[in-house]
Symmetry: C2
Subunit: 349 residues, 2 copies
DNA sequence: GGCGCGAATGGTAACGGTAACATCAAGGCG
DNA sequence: CGCCTTGATGTTACCGTTACCATTCGCGCC
């Protein structure tokens, strides 16, 4: 169309792709065909109650016939509401966050919001990622964790959009928060093992920020009973089964004696169990194992895994509610929500 | 709302939110401060090689100082390129797709693309979801599966954007395709059990579209040896551990004799194993179990699970490559890619 | 010395919606 | 009967960016 009278085909393989993308139908095209103005079409689609029944019907007919799809980008530009929520997670190939994502996405979808997924790969350039995402004008943003670069904090505040941090607690969130105390989780794990009579305890742990908090809580409780861990194997995120196996192998190699192993997450724990069983250790008789996360397999290993349960669905759903409330202008009830946790005692301890 | 020149605070808890969202910095603001035109700022950011070094530096300084964040929506509207890829999955709280999502997202991110996540909850209103998403003008779209409503197909074709279907094969994809043959997977599972000498076989299966294809392949091979399954327990998606337990319980209740159980996915298989062990059955001596998916726990159960491995990362990465190639105008090498599968023999059969 | 060329920069007009305000007809009411 | 209200629709401008087409200037070259 228009100017370029000389739009030459790109010579060589020209013909191949590009089905010329026939100029898409716009709201003005629909308006013309329906014999109304553009704004009336806009109203017919967005606020049908403002349009007379006859007009409405006519417009709808034309929309169906022409296959008109409103350009949300254009609308968002004008209204300054994108109906997009950005959600930043360290990763997804780890069941811990997935259920929250699911709950979040479904709840937001009910209100016409879409989720833009960002993966920050545990710290690596969260800031850059967020900077890029903010340009898309999300109406709200969900972050994982509460420790962010000062630059990131500044950017988010400057963006003037609701922000919900998740999976952790802090007295000074950027904006809103839904999570639980990792230190208390660690402490509860330690108390559980102590209550079972364990005094010689090994750790197979991850070194991401939140896992470190759990470890601190764990160690403090041990210290309160005058105990130090017998041995510790600390590895980088993400936590996987093989690392759990390797972790136990390493602890055993240290030559230290221990009757229980605490793990920073369930996959590590299952790895530890597998390795222990391969070496003929009985669980929990020879070795007690406790994990964290209550991933869906935890209840179904043999023996079933003692672990710490988190209501992941609640985190996702609450985060969605808080964002929605804020976007709607309602002041969300609480800005900080602690969803707590539960030590789930099963057969492995 | 509307008129109210007297924006009264909402009485009671008023003061709280709404920090008045000071009008955001635009490209013109930056231009003015830097003493250049808007288009020069645009070039400085998008194609720095077109701008003189001095100007570039000046513009960059102003950008940092003002905290300018380009409005991608406006840019996309003008250029007709959103740098968004929509990815539709039935669900995520099921590890099968998660690794593909991860690989997809990471690869796309490298090229400056963002992923818009859509969850279609296994068939429920995939069409509606896609209709909504197309309005956001994604530059490409990834679908799970190959069976879509005719309406959906029409919409996608009309959108004139690259489409990749995944996780299945068909000779007539909408556009591009990366997946594997579920029928062949089912057939391979059956052959594996037959080769192990099993003749009395139970099924614990899901009824989603692709699982049904695997079942068909499975049954055909059995039929080839004149065998019918001893008993079948068919349940709705998603596949979970508890359903696996329940599945085996149901098969046993049927009173039929069987020496092996095939499952439509690994979580079901692990559930079957757990239930069997609770009932004192030895695996694989009393009961052999085979799953599908090779989820990360499969190698670490006791006994380790025999299953069918899929290169999920390859699916995600390839889908990304194909979309990127097409967007860049290059004709992707193959439009249909079969990533195949592998029967992984472990201790459970 | 005139011309062509490339590098650097700018003015203007879209992109496709919707907010804001305007218009107009029909109906209620003193 | 004139005035105000309400419902339905239209006009215009603007959201913030970039494509497209100048324009300007310095420089090499015949």
């Amino acid at each position: 169309m228009a100017k370029s009278p000389s739009r030459k085909p790109r010579a060589v393989k020209g013909a191949a792709a590009r089905p010329a993308a026939a100029k898409p139908v716009t709201i003005r095209d629909v308006a013309k065909v329906a014999g109304v103005s553009a704004i009336t079409v806009s109203r017919a689609l967005a606020r049908p109650e403002l349009v007379s029944p006859e007009t409405l019907e006519r417009v709808r007919a034309v929309v169906t016939r022409t296959g008109y799809v409103p350009n949300v980008l254009a609308g968002s530009l004008r209204t300054r509401r994108s109906r997009i929520i950005a959600a930043i997670f360290p990763q997804v190939s780890n069941t811990l966050f997935v259920e929250a994502i699911q709950a979040l996405t479904e709840r937001l979808r009910e209100e016409g919001y879409q989720v833009l997924l960002g993966l920050s790969s545990y710290e690596r350039r969260e800031d850059e990622l967020i900077a890029g995402i903010l340009g898309r004008q999300p109406d709200g943003i969900l972050l994982t964790g509460v420790s962010h670069a000062p630059e990131t904090r500044r950017r988010l505040i400057a963006a003037h959009i609701p922000v919900v941090e998740t999976w952790d607690l802090t007295p000074s969130p950027i904006d809103m928060l839904v999570g639980f105390s990792h230190e208390k989780v660690g402490a509860a794990m330690a108390r559980h093992l102590l209550a079972r009579g364990h005094r010689d305890i090994g750790l197979v742990w991850n070194n991401d920020a939140r896992a470190e908090l759990r470890r601190r809580g764990f160690l403090e409780v041990l210290a309160g009973s005058g105990i130090e861990p017998a041995a510790t194997c600390l590895g980088p995120a993400p936590a996987t089964f093989p690392r759990g196996r390797e972790g136990l192998a390493q602890l055993l190699r240290s030559g230290k004696r221990f009757t229980a192993v605490a793990c920073s997450s369930d996959p590590l724990a299952q790895g530890v169990i597998a390795e222990a069983q391969d070496r003929g250790l009985r669980i929990p008789a020879d070795l007690a194992v406790i994990g964290f996360g209550d991933l869906d397999f935890a209840a179904h290993t043999t023996p079933a895994l003692t672990t710490v349960g988190i209501d992941k669905v609640a985190i996702g759903r609450l985060a969605a509610e808080m964002l929605l409330a804020r976007i709607a202008g309602r002041e969300a009830g609480e800005r900080i929500v602690d969803v707590g946790f539960t030590v789930i005692e099963r057969a492995s301890t």
